[in-house]
Subunit: 161 residues, 2 copies
DNA sequence: ATCCATTGGTTCAGAATTCAACTTCTACCG
DNA sequence: CGGTAGAAGTTGAATTCTGAACCAATGGAT
């Protein structure tokens, strides 16, 4: 399948390409919309949840702000605001780092941990219902295989220029 | 592959499932980040661009606000603000609808159309570079096939409750 | 030791987004 | 007809996000 070219040399998308692209866009938006919605009854956003996950999977239930920002693909600024909000909600606490006096840890509080334990099963159920369980194991595998290089490519671009 | 169960009955995700899920999340975020970035030099956001696309593909280069909101998966409120901004930027104009006096059309202006023609090739190139061209035709096809039912499912949920 | 370029993080102002009124008009029911 | 439920859009206030400017600490160079 050779990409169509036109006068100005643009390699426009074929119908198949368009289709794949648009469906990817749609799914990612619809999905975050739905997951967000399923999380709402617990008073959490996807953002909140993702931070809880990251913290609860880390040593000592804490992470350096920068690392957390990198892990969640957010700007430092945004994360800072986010953590402030979560701190006010009692889910998280800031702690100083002795080895580097500029540094701060975001630490899961007891409350944050409890929230996590309570919410996780529902979230997983939600992810299953709206995504995982709608894919055959082969499709899942194919997805993983074909998306991985893209993720790598994009991560590499990320810092650049 | 049987989903693992634990005491409380939660069907946690297997490693493969986790992997597929997380990569999907990452790709969709990294991708919008990158596309946004590639559009920035032209003074457009993805949102702006998507609206231009929708309008330029419609009869008479115009669409009813509601339809546009539905097509772009935004709330009416958000679209309204968005169109106001684009109107101020001269890309779009609001026009009354005679058949329904509540209704409004968002119409592409000459400027909007020109912008579209100028930017589209770059955007397509960007989509190719960061997504399409990194997928084999088979992968593309598989993606389309496996994502379509998900999109349908999510669209069906969308209105519900 | 002293610079100074970098890193880690916050803050502030401006822009975008959400959510809940609110207005106007339509359509339908009795 | 008259009344009213619902649709189409907008508005405004509160929240979140972005990007740049900023401060403080670090880690090398010299």
């Amino acid at each position: 399948m050779i990409p169509m070219e036109t006068e100005n040399g643009t390699r426009w998308l074929s119908d198949e390409e368009q289709g794949a692209w648009r469906i990817h866009l749609d799914v990612s938006r619809l999905l975050t919309y739905q997951l967000e919605r399923d999380l709402q009854p617990f008073g959490l956003t996807m953002n909140d949840y993702e931070i809880l996950v990251n913290l609860s999977e880390s040593e000592g239930h804490r992470m350096r702000m920068s690392d957390l920002a990198a892990a969640t693909l957010q700007s430092k600024s945004r994360l800072s605001h986010q953590i402030t909000r979560m701190e006010n909600a009692g889910l998280v606490r800031r702690e100083h780092c002795e080895s580097d006096r500029r540094g701060l840890f975001a630490c899961l509080t007891e409350d944050g941990w409890e929230t996590m334990r309570k919410v996780a099963p529902h979230h997983v159920e939600s992810v299953r219902k709206h995504f995982i369980d709608l894919l055959s194991p082969e499709a899942l595998d194919a997805l993983h295989t074909s998306l991985t290089p893209i993720a790598e490519h994009l991560r590499a671009q990320r810092g650049r220029v």
